[in-house]
Symmetry: C2
């Protein structure tokens, strides 16, 4: 049976039947068909089984079933550059067209050359200037129109596919499986909350109100006709990375997750926070060790850090010592992209 | 038939049957039995009917059905003082016991006298000092324990009931009715998000993740055993009043509400924002004009502003000119408290 994106998102009929009748999942209605048999897959199935079966010592009531997922590198491809950063860089010509005085000012001058090596070397404060210029200063509606147009037209250079197609089939299966079992699935991303919200529903089946991300403020005002609208501000309200992830989860959700998935040091505190709660908790990290089907990166893979969160040896050691599961893309996944 | 709190929250069997079979609501299964017949009640019923009936020109898809409710003075009694302010004032002795040096420092000295008139005259910056001292500087878990103990023990001086019992029966019916019709109901309050989250589920049937309120930051850290925890900070992240309401809605929900309910100038921008969206939208304001069964207040009632949001003449005029519905507690409600 060919599993389509729609199946992955909506859950196959077999999966729904299995869930509603409560019978054990057999090979024929495996909720995680893109996973190889092994301890990673078994851990997910066991965790969900134990926390959602009434009478189990680890049973969790439906309203408490919260699962949080990092996005970049956990649900979709983040290498060699975060998709949102690609968006911001490609928006620069339009920004400079509207404000020609920026053409000879750094970092815009460098970005306009299109020289990838030079762009990759821009210092972080310069990169933040590009993000501020391309993500703020417009109305929420205008931002929505611009990002949706880009997401529709832009293509990843390696796979020649839309960026929103570069999701991991095994992770879409986990999202659907957990939702079928009553879990509320959240994205908790270092990426921009407003950016990810544009495609989260269609791409992951996650509604906008379940996207927690790095967020700037907005300012309420009125247009000339007296109609109210919101403008996106450069003021940072939530830096949803590292300690900001559990802080953001408290702010936006108000419950400690029972399961958390990540792939880098930026997810460490979220996983620690989830695991520190009472009862059975699940913490998983995805290791990018598949140079053929996707990428192998991070210091352990001998590839230089390219501004993206890294899976360090220290993180690996913490995972092993605390009972977090490290998912090997190469060994645990039958299929990578959806 | 005596309608209990449980009925109000969970929806009566009749209501659920009516919703699932799609037949017209008759007097026998009126979803709003605590409302007198009249234009306010009719407006709510018509709005919900039009936006949730497939084929209707005003049909709204389930994922977009967002309704936001102010809390103080809209869902429960706010007069003569916000419940959370009562909590903060009553916490002062415990705070001073832990930090005896505060006993001779204002505003704590005045609060400790228990002199209501003097306390009522404290300037706003002093009141904010009391809020900061009683709502921040402790762990999230400690705050939860303290507020729950107080909510369980404290009694309103007029009705001798728990504060969480002082909810409006007609509004609980609206919450339940809208949820039964697929609306996701949110509290959007100027009150403290963490405070309201302690009782929102039990009191209103609204889960913690659907409470948007004034929110301070938290700081992630570790205790001596290495266990992570969050500490409540005095740093303000969201002032969820006035323009802060639509800004908070964008931050926390990411969708424009189709229906919004409030009772004061602090709700004005939220109602404007809701009404400015495309399609059929509902904006309602509750007027406290029932001195017998509850209170009559605001400048229009000749009662001085007592630090609470006011229903000004300007707000009333805006409501009338923009087609917002003004609910008269005295005339529209058969029953007030639940």
């Amino acid at each position: 049976m060919e599993v389509t994106r729609r199946d992955l998102l909506k859950g196959s009929a077999a999966l729904i039947v299995a869930a509603s009748t409560g019978r054990a999942v057999s090979a024929a209605d495996d909720p995680l068909p893109s996973w190889n048999e092994g301890s990673s897959k078994k851990t997910i199935l066991d965790f969900v089984q134990r926390t959602t079966t009434r009478g189990s010592a680890d049973f969790v009531s439906v309203e408490q079933r919260i699962a949080t997922f990092d996005q970049d590198g956990t649900l979709w491809v983040e290498h060699p550059m975060y998709t949102q950063v690609v968006y911001c860089l490609e928006r620069v010509p339009a920004v400079v067209k509207a404000k020609p005085e920026l053409a000879n000012v750094e970092p815009f001058q460098t970005v306009l050359t299109g020289n990838r090596e030079a762009i990759a070397k821009l210092p972080v404060p310069d990169l933040l200037k590009v993000l501020a210029a391309t993500l703020t200063g417009m109305s929420v509606d205008q931002f929505e129109a611009e990002t949706n147009k880009w997401l529709d037209e832009a293509r990843d250079p390696r796979w020649k596919r839309k960026f929103t197609d570069l999701t991991y089939a095994p992770m879409l299966e986990v999202l659907t499986f957990m939702r079928t079992k009553g879990y509320k699935t959240y994205i908790v991303t270092g990426g921009g909350q407003d950016f990810v919200r544009q495609y989260a529903e269609k791409t992951y089946g996650i509604p906008v109100e379940q996207v927690v991300g790095t967020a700037g403020g907005t300012t309420f005002g009125y247009d000339k006709t007296g109609k109210p609208f919101l403008t996106k501000d450069p003021k940072l309200l939530l830096n949803d990375n590292n300690a900001g992830k559990p802080e953001g989860i408290h702010m936006m959700i108000g419950r400690r997750p029972f399961a958390a998935f990540g792939n880098s040091t930026g997810d460490r505190q979220m996983l620690e926070y989830a695991k520190a709660g009472k009862g059975e908790r699940l913490a998983m990290l995805l290791l990018h060790d598949d140079a053929e089907r996707e990428y192998a990166y991070g210091p352990a893979q001998g590839l230089p850090d390219s501004r993206i969160g890294t899976f360090t040896q220290a993180l690996y050691d913490e995972a092993k010592s605390k009972g977090w599961v490290v998912i090997s893309m190469k060994n645990d996944w039958k299929r990578v992209l959806s």
